[in-house]
Symmetry: C2
Subunit: 718 residues, 2 copies
Amino acid sequence: MKTLAVVLAALLVSGGGRRREDGYELWLRYARVADTARLAEYRAAIRELVLTPGEPTMQAARDELVLGLNGLLGRRVPVADAPTRDGTLVVGTPANSPAIAALPLAAALREAGPDGFVIRALPVRGGGHHAIVVAANRDIGALYGVFHLLRLLQTEESLAGLDVVSAPRYSLRLLNHWDNLDGTVERGYAGASLWEWARLPDSGHTRYRDYARANASIGINGTVLTNVNANALILTPAYLVKVAALARVFRPYGIKVYLTARFSAPLEIGGLPTADPLDARVRAWWAAKADEIYRAIPDFGGFVVKANSEGQPGPQDYHRSHADGANMLADALAPHGGIVMWRAFVYSSEVPTDRIMQAVDEFEPLDQAFRTNVLIQVKNGPLDFQPREPFSPLFGAMRRTPLMMELQITKEYLGQDTHLVFLAPMWEEVLRADTYAPGPGSDVAARIRGLAGVANVGNDRDWCGSDFNQANWYAFGRLAWDPMLSSAAIAAEWTRMTLSNDPRVVRPVVAMMLASREAAVNYMTPLGLAHQMARGHHYGPGPWVTGGRADQTSVYFNRADSIGIGFDRTPTGSNAVRQYFPPLRERFASRDSVPDNLLLWFHHVGWSERLRSGRTLWEELLEHYQAGVDTVRWMQRTWDGLEARVDADRFRRVQGFLRIQEAEARWWRDASALYWQSFSHLPLPPGYEAPGHSLDWYRQLHCPPDPRKPRCDPVTGF
Amino acid sequence: MKTLAVVLAALLVSGGGRRREDGYELWLRYARVADTARLAEYRAAIRELVLTPGEPTMQAARDELVLGLNGLLGRRVPVADAPTRDGTLVVGTPANSPAIAALPLAAALREAGPDGFVIRALPVRGGGHHAIVVAANRDIGALYGVFHLLRLLQTEESLAGLDVVSAPRYSLRLLNHWDNLDGTVERGYAGASLWEWARLPDSGHTRYRDYARANASIGINGTVLTNVNANALILTPAYLVKVAALARVFRPYGIKVYLTARFSAPLEIGGLPTADPLDARVRAWWAAKADEIYRAIPDFGGFVVKANSEGQPGPQDYHRSHADGANMLADALAPHGGIVMWRAFVYSSEVPTDRIMQAVDEFEPLDQAFRTNVLIQVKNGPLDFQPREPFSPLFGAMRRTPLMMELQITKEYLGQDTHLVFLAPMWEEVLRADTYAPGPGSDVAARIRGLAGVANVGNDRDWCGSDFNQANWYAFGRLAWDPMLSSAAIAAEWTRMTLSNDPRVVRPVVAMMLASREAAVNYMTPLGLAHQMARGHHYGPGPWVTGGRADQTSVYFNRADSIGIGFDRTPTGSNAVRQYFPPLRERFASRDSVPDNLLLWFHHVGWSERLRSGRTLWEELLEHYQAGVDTVRWMQRTWDGLEARVDADRFRRVQGFLRIQEAEARWWRDASALYWQSFSHLPLPPGYEAPGHSLDWYRQLHCPPDPRKPRCDPVTGF
């Protein structure tokens, strides 16, 4: 006994020594359950597993359970053909599991629908053994249920009286990869593209499967492999073979593959003289191309298209409408069940009075013109993934056309890889916003059919460039399944699965996460400011950016002058408020009712005007910048207090990033305050933290070129 | 007992399930010793560890032993202050270990020198306990000894009568990283640069330490962080802080940091109007810069310089010699003990008659002109890292100046990431070549002071882009320690440490590795052909490449015409043979004595001339191309036979790459044969495998742009 115990201890230590928390396992770490009472409960409740593999998705469910239970329970759970004792876990569908077919689950399964699942503790079979049942109508539902059950164990929830029915709110839960065929990722901050095109299809990578596992664990069911700034080569036979190889890996995990369609592909790879969507040759070419794609990938999802925007080709090149373009592709895909997601992020070729009004102006008139298999994909805000924007008025305006909402998981404007910014509060804000279309109680979440998230995933070991960026991938999937989940609940789940179930860790980490987005708003663009980032790479402050196309400059959006700051979008200005339904338009238009956090989005406000707080605008602005810095410092102290409770690898990584974030929050604060001061000519209040450098110094900072992570180091001048 | 055994089994399975052979651990996997008799022997021989930590290098040695022994022996070895029983492992130096100071090791330690070590089985102390001693003069020697001992266990060598004294042949054992500050790697095929400049120094990465461990395990003691095509920014204060942070991580592992010096830095970052090496301001600037570097990095190694080559600035821009340039930098570094490695890879601005003669012509006259802390860094061959070249005649010509040899570990011209090509046989070939300078018995290995290897390391999970590419990093380090090690011995060590000790794996894998380089020579550039790769990316065949600078084209090197093929470098041609010492020059100049494998390097040979084999040149060429393809197919069959003995992850990865290699070997064979046929007008012999496509098809292949892995897919046309 003693010898064995020693060997056992050595093994545990040795195993522990090997395990480096490098982030690869994401929230699927399956660490041993730390609470001994819970562990005993789980071990008693799950003593054998009844699951019929065979179909690839059921095999995936079984593999995941074996991996997860081995890790969580620290023991191997034997597999049986049928329940033989108390403590059986039964997983399957009525079609593949006689045990489940025999249970009275019909009503619950109806509620679960095609993608959902039922988890219930109940007696099974004649013997009446105590069992936990994970049941679904389709194999994929069973897999989702398995991940849900594993999540309960990972978060140390009690299994007593387990009774869950869960169905996703949306049928489209997609990642959009802005990955180029050359391996770069537009707005990617986590290394190169995961897709190793040059090696496909001859050589694969185990990482593809782990990517699929991670997505399935949070319910994501589609992936758009390629950048919206599209390359027609992806539609050539050489590449479709490669796409099909990826689709094969993803299929058992319920993940469909989508591609971006370059509108000019018929010219570029089709040998046609035009890409006019009403030209019969063009229509035939796309129809044949769709046939070819579906021969290679029978469950292909469809196309995402960015057309007539930022230089991309589109139907307007031929004086056709967005509907003409989208419908042509939709007709090609329709025989195969494919869909078109047509992006509403458009730029007209002429600089408009107010760029944020373009989408509604262009798309609202087309509201009944699209085929039924077209969805319009609308960014959460009317501008471009800023730290804070109001929701896009298109969610109210397009009332007959199915809509998707596009969120940006990769933090282009929010500190990219290094800043800790948890995005769920931002997404929660927009999902729950009431569009009042046509009356109260019509929130954005109810106006859409799905969520598309611009992925933050690359080939960095930790997938996302930082440990906390993983939480944004996680939160996106969870909200796409259930948009009414709270940010706090999601943060707690993620923290428990990823870091620890110890409440001395969970509480402070969740607090940091929930505070982090408002901190970024405060140190970057408080009070409704937007798009004040440096040009091009969008990292660091650039409120002075001017030149080039006007509606891509900072000064276009901040409108700072000697009188005040902010973009007048009331009827005295661009009147963008008109795109919102009453009473929102009036609420936003009035200085008395506009929320403080959108003040400068809708109003040009004098430097010395008093706000609700009693402070002048100038004072309030400075308060917010400082509050942003202070919150980051509080995050640093909070994290430092966790040193004893978090593994050294992750502790140091996060600590290093928070150090960068604190320095850069100061950079934002000081560069912004000094620049606004050059208009307001007002002094910094006594006691205000003095800027580190002069305005000129900040303006002259330049970055070394780093296509992965363009960054100025505000301390040293690079 | 039974319960414990079950738990134990579950743990083993669970541990096994977790362990993914993703290549990250390189040859330092420390898997449990599989041979039970050996395991028992090791467990008896190593029952406690006596090692005084404290100094960082000794701490590193202890950490490595704990990690290694936990894994290899499957048990924790307790640490004691002094030997208390039989089976003690004592590690240290006479200075930090009383036990070692008391042993009669003086003679052996003298032999071990500053970097070497002694490993011996012997009784220690009064009690006369049986012990294994790892002793060295300096801490770093002890660390090297620890890695050597772990290697013995990893390869399941007996410890009976252990008596090793090992000292490195060279004091300079360096990796050269061609890493740019923007994160790209010139000729890198394993992802982006390891150095995350934008995140340094605030945030580090555990990978830096593992990089240092891997290097120390094979004796590498220096790393040049930056590309020879240099960026002066690395010498600015902002970057030196970052370099110092890396140096801190590497220091305990005995690895010095070096940088590339951009010759025009005084202009670009120094504000001077000139970079003339004889200008007093320039000399003062570099001296001050060296002082500044050493304040940040007290053990900084020195500079590598590529000057007046391929567009890089250099002393010739000011009508000064290479010696003027090198000596100026050497004088700046000398007070701090730094060195200059000045590359001999030069291009004159005018296209020469024979490019391979330039280095000798430029550098031989300077043979006594360099400071003592300058080394001339010479590529193994006179051209540029081709699959086969003769050794560079500069190794014989420069007899007074210290020389380094530069090898390319990254396989720019040898199939890059996917082709399995083990390079040790190529390096062995050059190291053992006799220069006859001034008489017989003066091999290249004896003419040099160190080896510099252009690294194949990037941030890919497996470091090197493929499992087998790791063997080239390993082999480089081992040869830099002992250039007389055989390729076969190195291949066997690496295979045992990386894959398995099972002779049914070791034998076939070593056979594959040893055959692989000649296979690549055969399918790419047989019989002494060179530089026939596609332009720019150097991937795939391009024997037709012409245009641009003549001495960078394929036709310049192959000289194919209606009469024959090959570059006449005899006295009737460029007379490059004159750069070799007799009797080599005569041997190479004569068709009767030139080795077949360098035939077309030195001679223009008629298509129908008979070779030693009795075959015509045309027949012989075709034979070699086919032999290359056949060898790859044999490698595929051999690997397929190992499916049951190699883990599934690595088995599939290698299998996928071999599939690519086989297709591309055919691509090389067919494109080359068809192109030569357009000159020879001779038929392919009956029964010869028919080319897959026409010559035009091969010539028109174009690659999608992939900065990481430019590649044409010969099967599909992309």
